[in-house]
Amino acid sequence: AQSVTQLDSHVSVSEGTPVLLRCNYSSSYSPSLFWYVQHPNKGLQLLLKYTSAATLVKGINGFEAEFKKSETSFHLTKPSAHMSDAAEYFCVVSPQAGYSTLTFGKGTMLLVSP
C-alpha cells in the first residue's frame, strides 16, 4: 500500500523569496516519487521525479526535491519564486519498478505575490 500527504493545502510567498512545498509518503516498497504542476485550467506537467538514483533531484523551472528515506519525505523547493510559479502542485508516489497506478497527494496551491 502507498499514500502521500501534502502537509499544506496553500502556501503563500512573495516573489523572489524561497519556496518550500512539503510532502510525506508511505510505501511498503521502494517508491518512485514525482512532483507535478498544474496551472489553472491546464493538464498536469511533470516537474521532476525520483527513481532511486541521486537523492537530490533537479527539475524544470529551477525546482528541486530531496528524497529523505529516514524522514519519508520528498519536499519541493525553489530558491526564488516567480509569479509564473503560482499553480497547484501535486506530490505523487508509485512503485519503483513496473507499471502501476499512481497515488496523488491532495495538492498544494502556491500563491505568489508581487
Binding site: 518512485s32 507535478y36 498536469l44 506537467q45 521525479k49 527513481t51 508509485s94 513496473g98 507499471y99 495538492g107
Partner: protein, 114 residues
C-alpha cells in the same frame, strides 16, 4: 508538438444526456488512463487500459464506460451525466518497462452538466 490531445477543451451537456470525451496520443504508449478531477481536489483514477486490457477502479460508477479502438485513441463515455459528474477529465499515457514510469497528461476536458 502536443503528444496527448483531448477534445473538446470544454464540453457542456444536459443532465442525463450521454456524452463522450476523446483522447488521442502520438507517443505510441501502451497504457492510457482516465482521471476525474473535481475543483480543488487531486485527480482520481477512473480506469486505464494496458493495450486492450481494461482495468476498472473498484469505486468507479457504472455510469462511466471507456473504449479503446486502437493504440492512439481512447474514449470516455458518460451514459447519464449527473450534476456531480461536472469536473475536469484528464487523459494520460505511459510506457511501462522503465523504472519510475511517468505519466504524460493531456490538457483536460472541462465538463459542465446543466
Amino acid at each position: 508538438d502536443a503528444m496527448v490531445i483531448q477534445n473538446p477543451r470544454y464540453q457542456v451537456t444536459q443532465f442525463g444526456k450521454p456524452v463522450t470525451l476523446s483522447c488521442s496520443q502520438t507517443l505510441n504508449h501502451n497504457v492510457m488512463y482516465w482521471y476525474q478531477q473535481k475543483s480543488s481536489q487531486a485527480p482520481k483514477l477512473l480506469f486505464h487500459y494496458y493495450d486492450k486490457d481494461f482495468n476498472n477502479e473498484a469505486d468507479t460508477p457504472d455510469n462511466f464506460q471507456s473504449r479503446r479502438p486502437n493504440t492512439s485513441f481512447c474514449f470516455l463515455d458518460i451514459r447519464s451525466p449527473g450534476l456531480g459528474d461536472a469536473a475536469m477529465y484528464l487523459c494520460a499515457t505511459s510506457k511501462p518497462g522503465t523504472v519510475g514510469e511517468k505519466l504524460f497528461f493531456g490538457s483536460g476536458t472541462q465538463l459542465s452538466v446543466l
